[in-house]
Subunit: 198 residues, 2 copies
């Protein structure tokens, strides 16, 4: 399974935001929505063997489970509506028990550290870093977890936590990309297994 954890530093933690202002009042939720798009969509299907974790304001984590998703569309607005529906169920997420809001979408009362701890187990954790190894030189693992930040850099404490968990430090090319573009390149790297077998 391929997993992507994206930290939304300014993302909303309540459902009181407008779908008309994702890049403004909704704390750049547009970035996270594009990450969900890149993680799941193929031309005519959804990647079922993918799981996405959106950390919202270090308070909640919304999980998208590829095998169970039913109402995901590619545009930012409809994905943001799914996140809003998840946040409407935030009071049902008690302790670490998740609350499912729509098929394949659930919310947990967990910030970055707890989510990373919880998710990293059994995976190969990829940290994206400008000084990392070219990803094309790395043998694709069976169960990668890519940990990404939204439009902001990781905070120092997050970077320390990630450094401690990371199995590989990689870069996807000579240029630093947006998180959603990084996900697309990561999928392509995994799809093509080092660009030699397709």
């Amino acid at each position: 399974m391929r997993q992507f954890l994206i930290v939304g530093h300014d993302a909303p933690t309540t459902p009181e935001f407008s779908l008309d202002d994702l890049a403004g009042g909704a704390g750049r939720l547009d970035v996270l929505c594009r990450c969900v798009n890149s993680a799941f969509f193929l031309s005519h299907s959804i990647r079922e063997d993918v799981r996405v974790h959106l950390v919202l304001g270090d308070e909640f984590t919304v999980r998208f489970e590829g095998a169970d998703l039913r109402r995901l569309n590619p545009d930012e607005r409809s994905t943001a509506a799914l996140v809003r529906q998840a946040l409407e169920h935030r009071e049902d997420a008690i302790g670490h028990v998740p609350a499912e809001s729509t098929p394949g979408v659930s919310i947990r009362r967990m910030g970055f550290e707890e989510t990373l701890d919880h998710v990293a187990d059994g995976t190969t954790v990829f940290e994206l870093h400008e000084d990392g190894d070219p990803i094309a030189d790395v043998e694709p693992p069976a169960d990668p977890l890519f940990v990404l930040s939204d439009h902001n850099e990781f905070a120092d404490r997050e970077r320390s936590l990630l450094d401690a968990e990371a199995d590989r430090r990689v870069r996807v090319g000579p240029k630093v990309l947006h998180a959603d573009h990084t996900i697309t390149v990561a999928h392509n790297y995994l799809d093509t297994e080092g660009y030699t077998t397709y």
Copy 2:
């Protein structure tokens, strides 16, 4: 220069559409907006050496010129607003004379055939095709033009025109991707020059 031509089959040809319904009433303009995003955005800058041509309903073409762009933001809604502003200037586009609507964005009264003819000159035309060569095996040219379709397949006539113009027939991996994801992978291929030099 890297160029991307994307055909929006259902895209609006007048500015009478709602920014709240890009994936519905606006004829999947969300797809084209994501293509613009993928074509131009780096993490902290815009790719200036890029030009994008959006063919709208085989009637108009909206051009985005990387070196001149001033008001481009990553989210779908604000990019759609730029397209709408371009369409507000459509009456000023007479013959093949463009009308600039905002810095770096202009509209031309040209459909797919005319735009392809006009743009292909001096470029290496890449046709994306499931049976094409793996793009990683192709030496990156100086001035590539990637021709893509929105959420629809190319119509037969469009495919014939493209077949006649294409210099290379490629695929970006074993899976068929959305147009915007294809652009991201194409950029990564060009950035990394065959994945060996970064």
